[in-house]
Amino acid sequence: MEATITLHVDGEKRELTVDTRTTLLDALRDRLGNTSPKKGCDHGQCGSCTVLLEGRRVVSCLTFAVAHDGATVTTAAGLAGEDQLHPVARAFVDHDGFQCGYCTPGQVCSAVGMLEEAGADWPSHVTEDLRAPVTLDDAEIRERMSGNLCRCGAYVNIVAAIREASR
């Protein structure tokens, strides 16, 4: 069964027809040709497909495109203008927060979403005082970024990049 939906992707309004089984990730990659979000596991276990959906980070492989008619989606390709880098993305380059680069767009989107969450004082598993403002120390960054696997093992540099971008 197919459905026609509209998505606002990286600032562009896109109408597309999807199989109702098509995930948001596959809609972006296979239907719209936006391959910025990556498919690492297709089961929500690795985070490579992370995008911002209505401003919040989601694993786009675990949600159906048809459920998001009219939604706004931002991928790592759309965080900044065509020839610009978002400060988080810039920090990833400067700190070598990646090697193969495959998990990276998901890491960057996740970091952008995470900084919003921490800025809004959402606690995490390692937050000591759930009512106090969040201090984004390394332990907080590590915990909040643990939904994004990096097999190259760039975690130390990812933390350094986010630490800098959070200032």
Binding site: C46, Q99, G101, S146, Y155, V156
Partner: protein, 697 residues
């Protein structure tokens, strides 16, 4: 030995030249090249480990709208050359392992292809199977040796048994490591396009060697290699598993040839990667060390038992590291393998050295405790003046310097050597050390091309691949110094068989092999065209085969230090700190090399604590084949990791003065963690991974 390049660009921490493309996700991987009107392949995998396919019912799949073809052993094209049986895809009804391709669907959409694959009904005749490796397996044999290049399966010097008999202190233990899967983040993917009119096959592939894949695929299909193009500008990791073509390359090409003119996209699922693209064999290693009371080694014996598949032999040379690591007059190493009804095992980061060094360095830690000698000093005491296997002088052995300087920087000294001697609240705290080594590898046959674009700008082309190592950047720097230009004047082109032949990105040999070719091409260019060339002037050259100075034993070395905290009640292990100090010759790019070291250390930490593929003995499949159950470290599992290196160059290795960096980080780091866990708890876990249950027994 040739003169080394003057480092002007080399040694500088340039950020990755493809960095912006990667952080935005615009860098195209194998699935992502914009091609019109693609089709999608989904395979059907065998559900038995051994037997034969008796019937394939494709009617349900073929009836589904949008299905273009269903390939089966009955209708697949007959391949020209299947001497390598890994590539004999759909060529017979035989099933040799669980997860083998038995059919494939090609359809208009990925959803349809997947649904149709689920509708293909396969009947089997089951035969008895054997998928469990044991130390006394009846099928164990000495691996077939490749007389031309393969290392010997066994070595013996002196009389090990007599020396062990005489030794004042003997350590004799068996260590095991489980099946482990590489799991690069980018699943193995091939997009294949067959153009019938021209007879050209193009593969956009996730590979560590475009020329390697081209050679295999051309052979299998009986095609002129010139008609096969393999493209891989960016590859999402490999760690060895993408070092050669695998069956999926053949299946994708086969499907493309059945459907000319339409690109066929085939990305393995994460689950399928546990069946089809190689893995590290489980190992069972007995290590015996004989020493005097001061810890001076008289005998080293290292016997490795491993598995391979029935269709293709691959030996993990785990005992080899004990041939060069420490001095001892009496030594023996052996490898025995059993061919089981399992998928083909293959390279995984530092094949051989990684599991072998875990066992050997854990045994050295046991010897240090038995002798009451500091583990750092025990290793220094047994440091050989010349290569104990060949007697050759070392090119640049700085293991002791790595150990002693590393110990200072880590804060090793002052520890109470007694196990279980430090407690912080609920946590038992310990520290561990291990040595690392990796041979300098150089693969001949790489060719580079240099062309002057004008205005002092140069295009440098070589069919190398960057799987995340930093080759885009480091080769640019090497080319810059070879041509005497700033890096900004170099336009590097890699990742395509349209560029000259290049060896695989494997064995920590890429930068050495390709860089040497680039230096040769730059020198040929200057010889022919001088320092003021016309625009369009060009030259090609290959790296001389005798680049490496043969009179010397050339290895990289390193020392790993780890601090482990083990929860006294739960057995949970945390590793807040790891430190590695390495000697690898000149570091071409400090930024990317540091990342390689850290990445190897993370994978070593992972091997020590997390990774294990559990093969179900009843069905022969991996029962935990995805990221929910096959654990790799997350960000929160990794603490304060640091890596440094000694400032040096090794002109005997390459004209850059560099050796390799990709693998040494994973060599030794698992043992450092395991040794730290023992120091913390007094429990010696000899079977990786060190999971909490093993500490609470």
């Amino acid at each position: 030995m040739t003169s080394t390049l003057e480092p002007k660009s080399m040694g500088r921490p340039l950020t990755r030249v493809e960095g912006a493309d990667k952080v935005t996700g615009r860098a195209p991987y194998a699935y992502e090249h914009p091609l019109s009107d693609p089709l999608y392949l989904h395979p059907v995998l065998s559900t038995i480990p051994h037997g034969r396919v008796t019937a394939v019912d494709t009617s349900g799949a073929e009836a589904l709208p949008g299905v273009h073809t269903v390939l089966t052993p009955g209708n697949a094209e007959r391949l020209a050359d299947t001497e390598d049986r890994e590539f004999a895809v759909l060529q017979s009804d035989e099933v040799s392992f669980h997860g083998q391709f038995v059919a494939a669907v090609v359809a208009d959409t990925p959803e349809t292809a997947r649904q149709a694959a689920g509708l293909v009904k396969v009947d089997y005749e089951r035969l008895s199977h054997d998928v469990v490796l044991t130390a006394d397996h009846r099928g164990l044999y000495r691996p077939v040796e490749d007389a031309d290049e393969g290392p010997s399966a066994d070595t013996a010097q002196g009389d090990v048994e007599a020396a062990l008999e005489r030794a004042e202190v003997v350590v004799d233990h068996t260590y095991s490591t489980p099946t482990e899967h590489n799991n690069p983040m980018e699943p193995h993917t091939t997009t294949a396009l067959w153009e019938e009119g021209t007879g050209h096959l193009t593969l956009y592939d996730s590979t560590q060697g475009v020329h390697v894949v081209r050679a295999s695929v051309a052979t299998v299909f009986g095609l002129d290699p010139e008609r096969v193009r393999v493209v891989a500008p960016h590859v999402g990791g490999g760690f060895g598993s993408k070092g050669e073509a695998h069956a999926h390359n053949v299946l994708a090409a086969m499907a493309a040839r059945a459907l000319p003119g339409r690109p066929v996209k085939f990305a393995l699922t994460r689950q399928q990667m546990f069946c089809l693209v190689g893995y590290r064999t489980p190992t069972i290693q007995r290590v015996r060390l004989g020493a005097d009371r001061d810890g001076r080694l008289g005998a080293v014996s290292h016997d490795a038992v491993e598995q391979t598949s029935t269709i293709k032999e691959f030996t993990e040379n785990s005992a080899m590291c004990s041939r060069w690591m420490y001095a001892a007059p009496h030594r023996r190493t052996t490898h025995r393998i059993a061919a089981l009804d399992v998928p083909v095992n293959f390279w995984m980061r530092a094949p051989g050295e990684c599991p072998g060094t875990y066992a050997a360095e854990a045994a050295m830690d046991e010897l240090a405790h038995a002798c009451g000698v500091d583990p750092v000093e025990l290793r220094a005491l047994n440091d050989p003046e010349t290569d104990p296997q060949s007697g050759s002088p070392w090119s640049d052995r700085r293991l002791v310097q790595c150990l002693r300087e590393g110990a200072e920087r880590f804060g090793w000294h002052g520890r109470d050597p007694a196990p279980r001697s430090r407690r912080e609240g609920d946590w038992l705290v310990g520290t561990g050390v291990a040595s690392a080594s990796y041979p300098h590898m150089f693969n001949p046959g790489s060719v580079a091309h240099v062309r002057h674009d004008g205005d002092g700008r140069y295009e440098v082309s070589i069919g190398a691949v960057d799987i995340g190592t930093g080759a885009w950047t480091s080769l640019t720097q090497i080319a810059a110094d070879a041509l005497g230009r700033p890096a900004s004047d170099i336009r590097l082109r890699i990742g395509d068989t349209a560029f000259p032949s290049a060896s695989v990105a494997g064995g920590s040999s890429g930068t050495s092999s390709w860089g040497t070719a680039i230096v040769a091409a730059a020198r040929a260019f200057r010889d022919r065209h001088g320092d003021s060339p016309e625009p369009g002037a060009e030259a090609s050259a290959s790296a001389a085969e005798d680049t490496v100075d043969e009179g010397y034993s050339i290895y990289s070395f390193g020392a790993h230090f780890a601090e482990a905290w083990v929860n006294a009640d739960t057995g949970e292990v945390r590793v807040p700190r790891m430190y590695g100090l390495f000697s690898i010759g000149r570091v071409v790019n400090p930024r990317t090399v540091r990342s390689q070291f850290l990445g190897g250390m993370v994978m070593g930490l992972s091997m020590a604590l997390h990774e294990e593929s559990y093969r179900d003995p009843r069905y022969g499949h991996i029962a935990n084949g995805d990221f929910a159950e096959y654990h790799v470290p997350t960000n929160a599992d990794v603490g304060d990791l640091r890596a440094d290196w000694l400032d040096e160059e090794d002109p005997r290795a390459t004209p850059m003065g560099s050796r390799g960096a990709g693998e040494i980080g994973i060599v030794g780091s698992p043992a450092a963690v395991a040794n730290a866990v023992h120091h913390a708890t007094g429990v010696r876990v000899r079977d990786l991974p060190i999971t909490p249950d093993k500490l609470l027994r």
